[in-house]
């Protein structure tokens, strides 16, 4: 393997000093001066209703209130993949918390006080609060015109129903597959909704100046996508919309696309010269951004006695909420990949996106795969039991290999799933579980494999500008967001490797769409791969300029030149060493006193030119919708108190094929963080709605996210490296994947320990204890 200087090394985060010293700026740190207005939202108290009347007279009398806007002032609709969401509700509300209007005031207190005085009169309509009800033929329709909404070509809404999209994937012959099976197992699994709970709540500040230019400062994963959606919704030219995204206090998918940011952007257009700030409270963060979609999954699987899966029928019904402009693509992604990381000859997948009168579902770390894998990997474990085959062995037999055909017909990319399975199993001594000394406690072992592909349009792209400074330090201009994963550092490592410049000498700033080049979004765990390629290309471009200049001045052939230790060197003349700082801005002085060269600025971009969503809508065959998959496996030893149901995570191992870990410490950080986030969704996070569709726990008092005390006793991160041929230095994304195996792995360990199978999330101590008690009573 090639010896790299910065790639594969645990380079210190380049944003560390910014963040630990408090120098890092977030949107709410920025001073917008005296002309700052504060917006507060008038929110629906009904899950489904017609708005009969909005009385703002009392609210307008509050001192400090400037203006109040409602749906009659703005009719704009927006959305990333489907335009089904309104800036303000138009005569009808579809979930509790939906924005009906906004009060704009000179102080946040005045805005808040006034909102409380706005009287909204509703005519309640019947609400549908879960997807199975919404699918009934007599269910009230949320969007009677769904088939007319502008959308991407790969969405298939069903007119006259609540189905916003239905992804069908068909491979082989299901009937024949089941006929060949010795064992057939059928069951249903359900997963509720979840919240991202980023530390920093959503915030956006918008200013529309007197020249007609819109600037928005937002806490976002998607500056360019926001610019595009603002321009589209407001009918502005892209050059007149500027999105500035400072540091972000956590995203997890919740700050992808556009949610509340559209509101201040739209308000600003009527408030020329002012800046308008909308900052969400923790409650709003729960109720009106995105939530992770809920799912009911029906699985039927057949396998032969020797452990080969012959057929899989997987039907997933998604609770996608009142607006699915982003969430429908979660449904789509899973509809292509619900075979899991297995090669199965006969597959039928139906992934159905259903409107409900609950908050909009949308992207959340894992993009539907966590939900899908809970059912599938639980089922795999049970199937193995029925076949009397060790479940790890069963996974080995069926694991997808490079070159195998996926359910939609494209070939699997190079990947090390077998290696991940073996290493995760070995790390916890699979099959040799420890025995607790405490008679009230039992220990179970759990296992799960996973895969996930970036879900994105086929032409999602990245680009990079790279500027050399006088001292040969570099400013790297890119538009991905460092939302904690270490993206800026990894990009600096890639540029640094090619240009022989230490990453610490490379500055990567947060983006401004006016100055930084295009990036689709920081989502899909694709940024290391996609933007990494763009940065690599920008660095190669700069290197070419450097070599060509050296060739012009010193006449060395380009192919004998190389960069090392921030200098140009020559393979055929060891005496030639020209430090970069001597010329990368000022050029090289020749004998007659004139200069050659000038500032070196690299430019690079990347778009996957092989990707396509053109396929047969009845089978999904024919396209190449996914660029590649990242695979992995995880295993754990789980100690359970038989009386209380309390669970202790003794040892958790997670192996993931990163292709090439550009910064192994950051990969291990993702493994730890992702596992913790995943485990919390299993063990205690729990969204509860009442019968009127109101969220009962929009707070961190009753929606629990893990603390330092809830970390497993031992985490073993394992990095496997089967290079991704088109990845920068072989790298592929791993960010979301690290939370995928958590839920089935726990459910499988519980069955191993107690003999009970839990088929719905969350799996709280209470649920374990009461299920076990019930089971004991039966015996």
């Amino acid at each position: 393997m090639k010896d790299y200087k910065y790639i594969g090394k645990n380079v210190t985060r380049i944003d560390a000093l910014d963040k630990i010293s408090g120098a890092a700026t977030f949107v709410d740190d920025i001073d917008f001066g005296a002309n700052l207005l504060y917006a507060e939202l008038i929110e629906s108290t009904e899950a489904s209703a017609l708005i009969k009347k909005i009385d703002i007279s009392a609210a307008m009398k509050v001192k400090g209130v400037y203006k109040i806007f409602t749906g009659k002032d703005f009719h704009n609709r927006f959305g990333l993949y489907m335009k089904d969401r309104y800036v303000f509700a138009q005569e009808r509300v579809r979930f509790v918390g939906e924005q009906i209007g906004a009060v704009v005031a000179f102080t946040p207190e005045a805005a808040k006080s006034a909102v409380a005085l706005v009287k909204v009169e509703y005519e309640p309509l019947p609400a549908v609060l879960n997807q199975m009800d919404a699918l009934q033929s007599d269910a009230p329709l949320l969007h009677p015109e769904v088939e007319n909404y502008p959308r991407v070509p790969w969405f298939y809404p069903k007119a006259g129903t609540n189905i916003a999209h239905w992804r069908k994937t068909r491979k082989g012959d299901l009937g024949k597959g089941f006929a060949k099976a010795d064992v057939i197992l059928e069951d249903t699994y359900s997963v509720p909704r979840y919240a991202h709970c980023a530390l920093e709540t959503h915030i956006a500040v918008a200013k529309f100046d007197h020249s007609g230019r819109l600037t928005v400062w937002s806490s976002s994963q998607s500056p360019h996508t926001q610019r595009h959606l603002f321009a589209e919704a407001l009918g502005l030219s892209h050059k007149d919309v500027r999105v500035i995204t400072p540091y972000v206090g956590g995203g997890f998918g919740g700050k992808a696309g556009v949610t509340m940011e559209i509101i201040p952007a739209v308000l600003a257009t009527q408030l020329k010269g002012y800046a308008v700030k909308l900052r969400y409270s923790r409650e709003q963060e729960f109720t009106n951004t995105y939530q992770r979609l809920g799912v009911v999954a029906k699985i039927k699987m057949g396998a032969t006695k020797d452990g080969r899966i012959t057929a899989l029928e997987h039907k997933l019904y998604w609770d996608a909420g009142a607006y699915v402009e982003y969430g429908a693509n979660v449904v789509n992604a899973v509809g292509l990949s619900a075979s899991g990381p297995y090669c199965i000859d006969n597959v039928s997948i139906d992934s159905v996106c259903v409107y409900t009168n609950l908050p909009p579902g949308g992207p959340y770390r894992g993009f539907g795969y966590s939900e899908m894998l809970f059912g599938l990997e639980s089922h795999i474990s049970r199937m193995a039991q029925q076949l009397n085959i060790d479940e790890v062995e069963f996974r080995r037999i069926n694991a997808i290999k490079p070159g195998d055909e996926t359910a939609y017909g494209a070939k699997m990319n190079p990947s090390g799933l077998q290696d991940c399975i073996d290493k995760a199993a070995a790390a916890i001594n699979w099959g040799k579980k420890p025995v607790s000394e405490d008679p009230t406690k039992v220990i179970g072992q759990g296992f799960a494999a996973f895969w996930k592909a970036p879900a994105m349009p086929p032409n999602a792209s990245s680009s990079a500008f790279l500027k050399f400074n006088e001292d040969a330090t570099i400013n790297l201009l890119i538009s991905g967001m460092d939302i904690g994963q270490g993206y800026q550092t990894v990009m600096a490592q890639i540029a640094g490797e090619i240009l022989s410049v230490p990453p610490a000498k490379i500055r990567v700033e947060t983006p401004d769409t006016d100055r930084n080049p295009y990036e689709w979004q920081t989502v899909a765990s694709h940024i290391t791969w996609s933007c990494g390629n763009a940065v690599k290309n920008a660095a190669l471009d700069a290197r070419e300029q450097i070599f060509s200049l050296i060739h012009r001045v010193y006449h060395y052939p380009v192919d004998v030149l190389y960069l090392e230790d921030e200098a140009v060197k020559c393979k055929t003349d060891s005496a030639f060493i020209l430090p970069l700082q001597n010329f990368v801005v000022d050029g090289i002085m020749t004998e007659d006193g004139t200069f050659k060269g000038g500032p070196v600025n690299g430019c690079g971009m990347f778009m996957p030119e092989f990707s396509s969503t053109k396929d047969n809508p009845e089978t999904s065959q024919g396209g190449h919708p996914n660029v590649h998959y990242t695979v992995g496996a995880a295993a754990l030893n789980l100690e359970i108190d038989k009386e209380t149901g309390k669970m202790k995570l003794l040892k958790v191992a997670l192996a993931i094929d990163a292709g090439k870990a550009i910064n192994p410490d950051l990969v291990r950080g993702q493994i730890t963080g992702g596992l913790l986030q995943g485990l919390a969704t299993v063990l205690y996070e729990d969204m509860r709605f009442n019968e009127k569709g109101k969220l009962l726990n929009p707070n961190l008092t009753d929606y629990k996210i893990p603390t330092a005390k809830d970390v497993p006793e031992e985490i073993i991160p394992i990095i496997v490296e089967v290079p991704q041929p088109d990845g920068p230095f072989g790298a592929r994304g791993i960010g979301e994947h690290t939370m995928l195996p958590a839920a089935p792995m726990i459910a499988n360990a519980i069955e191993d320990a107690l003999g009970i199978r839990i088929k719905s999330l969350p799996i709280t101590a209470e649920k374990v204890a009461l299920t076990f008690l019930q089971e004991k009573a039966k015996q």
Binding site: T107, K112, K704, T707, D710, E766
Partner: protein, 297 residues
């Protein structure tokens, strides 16, 4: 964070000033010490006071005095102070256990024991300890003073025996010689949580007992039936099972967002059994970390 509700704020130096304001404003004035419940309640619109009386500068309310076998805990005394206090550590183990389970490190540095009992929520962690120690709540009004036994303090959820012109000046607890206590709490995870269920147990000598619970009834309560059964008997497996059998007569739990009625009923048996076994170990000098009894770190 902005508070939409406007109120006047006063920070008196003397108790008399605070009392006279309280007399004037009645329930339109709220007392601010830690503020960890109060400010959240104002922000959420649950409380809309005209006046906040900040008592943190009133020195006599900040005292933590030990004398005549009695600990007086002024109403400004925080949980962090109680946890650090050697008298509490040595003589009021049950209270010490409870204090450690309340909120997070940050909350405990601000929140006060007095504020806790004034909020009077059913899940009040400090209540079982105070009920077992038979604490006295010291209240003052303009020109009046009275002491209310803690068993008469809780009237209904969020309602106490305090009159609207009164201020709690502190809580006193008397040392009970030869006693061992433990507080066991069930939470949803190892991080800070409100109790799904809580049991305090005090063993006096080897044949007297006090039991109290929180989050299992509309108000925190002593479990007198269980005490009657146990008093006069030495602790053994048989007695423990008999005590557990009486639980349904002592608690009246509900299903809420934190827990079902069924689990609360069931888990109380486990908690009481483990608590009694742990108290036996404590009385024989063994170190017990009560959090671990229910699987928390």
């Amino acid at each position: 964070m902005s508070l939409a509700h406007e109120f006047a704020y006063y920070k008196p130096l003397r108790l008399e000033e605070a009392l006279s304001l309280k007399q004037q404003y009645g329930n339109k004035a709220n007392i601010l010490a830690g503020g960890t419940d109060l400010i959240v309640n104002i922000r959420e619109g649950v409380l809309k006071p005209d006046l906040l009386i900040d008592i943190k500068r009133i020195k006599e309310l900040s005292q933590l005095n030990w004398g005549n076998d009695t600990l007086f805990i002024g109403s400004n005394v925080t949980f962090a102070e109680l946890i650090e206090n050697e008298v509490v550590q040595k003589n009021f183990v049950l209270l010490h256990d409870a204090c450690k389970t309340i909120g997070s490190t940050g909350i405990r540095a601000r929140a006060t024991l007095t504020g806790n009992i004034c909020s009077a929520v059913p899940s009040l962690d400090s209540a079982p300890a105070l009920l077992c120690y038979e604490a006295m709540i010291h209240c003052a009004g303009t020109g009046s003073k009275r002491e209310i036994p803690v068993r008469e303090w809780f009237l209904s959820p969020r309602k106490t025996a305090l009159q609207e012109d009164e201020i709690v000046t502190g809580i006193s607890i008397k040392r009970i010689p030869d006693s061992y206590g433990i507080y066991i709490k069930l939470g949803r995870y190892s991080g800070e949580d409100l109790a799904q269920a809580g049991w305090g147990i005090l063993m006096i000598g080897d044949k007297q007992y006090r039991f109290a619970h929180c989050a299992l009834s509309p108000i925190p309560k002593r479990a007198y039936h269980i005490e009657d059964l146990c008093n006069g008997n030495s602790l053994n497996a048989d007695l423990i099972e008999k005590a557990i059998a009486l639980i349904p007569s002592e608690i009246n739990p509900i299903t809420d967002i934190r827990c079902t009625q069924k689990y609360r009923m069931y888990i109380s048996e486990i908690m009481l059994r483990r608590g009694l076994m742990a108290i036996q170990k404590r009385s024989s000098g063994k170190y017990i970390e009560p959090r671990k009894l229910m699987g928390d770190v």
